[in-house]
Symmetry: C2
């Protein structure tokens, strides 16, 4: 009997925002795997570190920083071989995923490689979207609102066209794009209907109007929420 | 000292998909309030029923079915008065929300009425979006994909225009609109890149290709997920 592969959504960072189900599976599996930078600690692992046991085998999937935003094919190929060997040996493996496993997560690249060969269960988690909205007290959308999730890496004209086609939006993966996005939203007269949220649910969480953000570059864990009506319940 | 108002996201239905934080607060508060149909059981309450104590005061916010999709102003006005009285008396109140409180939830209507007068904490939950993706093993979006959440109540031309402006979409609140939406997606050549998901995370969960759905009318707890590339990781 081969092992089960679990994709565990761990939520946005506050350890208390993991689900009872992820918490149960996390402590039951003999092997945990997680994405990590080339050199340094894994954010996904840090969320649940207090609950890991020394008896558990850990696999760090080290994704070189310069290609972190692209599928690092060879890295995932190799991780799939290593994880597949544990599954073949009958050991269950949990892949730790910050946020929700299928919402812009790297989990899909391993799921694409292993999902057909092994029994796989995906445990959804609290996404950064819900966490940022909660931090800001900013309802995302109501009734017949179209809500768009837009990566900040899109070019200005593509973003503007997509913003036209929705009442509400979350602009994610801000990073080095922050200043450009703020200028675009100002030009589109949307800046005063937007809120900036950084590191939602962590102790370092911050919620700011766009013009109060001092940086040209935002951290990776940040997003802008906006609603054309200002507030979704209006 | 007035009480705290909590907006508790309870996730999509499986009781194990509530967060540790919601679970803790749920059992600690003296008053719980929840939306309920005119006549019958509250879905939000049913998720956590085994953990409620007879000592807790319960407030059912009964929303007449025929206006369930619109803000029922008088109902929320009256609920705000009732909940406000408990908060004024120093009793913490938890508002139970299926899914995530700020993702198309009715919680925002009470938050709009009480959020400024009382200390309020919102606990994000696993949304139907993440739950449906997990049930279907369907990654929502990757890299620079724009992901649109589109209510099925939108007219065909509005939907088509919004679908043009995204790589991936979740069409929610299907209900009586299902047959029309399926016809639209077929016309747009997107039907074979879509999956239908019903009652994600519940025992009655179903995942189907669109042409295998026998009904003209889908249940309220259903959505269609689609990705232009067929699969997000491609």
């Amino acid at each position: 009997m081969s092992g089960h592969l679990y994709g565990l959504g761990l939520g946005p960072g506050d350890p208390e925002l993991i689900t009872l189900k992820a918490w149960r599976i996390l402590r039951a599996v003999p092997v945990v795997a997680y994405p990590a930078p080339d050199d340094g600690a894994s954010f996904a692992r840090s969320i649940v570190a207090p609950w890991l046991s020394p008896a558990q085998i850990e696999i760090a999937i080290r994704i070189p920083m310069e290609i972190a935003r692209f599928p690092a094919q060879e890295v995932y190929d190799q991780a799939a071989v290593e994880i597949g060997a544990h599954l073949d040996a009958g050991r269950d493996v949990a892949l730790l995923c910050q946020g929700d496993p299928l919402f812009y997560g790297s989990f899909m690249y391993l799921f694409g490689r292993l999902g057909e060969r092994f029994r796989c269960e995906i445990v959804p988690g609290v996404s950064s979207l819900g966490a940022c909205a909660a931090a800001a007290g900013f309802p995302l959308a109501a009734r017949n609102d179209a809500l768009a999730v837009l990566p900040a890496g899109l070019a200005d004209d593509a973003l503007a066209r997509r913003l036209e086609a929705c009442e509400a939006a979350a602009i994610i993966k801000l990073g080095r794009h922050f200043a450009r996005i703020r200028a675009l939203l100002t030009r589109l007269d949307l800046a005063d209907k937007a809120r900036y949220v950084e590191r939602a649910s962590l102790a370092s969480e911050r919620v700011l109007p766009l013009d109060a953000v001092a940086l040209d570059e935002a951290p990776y864990f940040s997003m802008i929420l906006l609603h054309r009506r200002g507030e979704a319940w209006k």
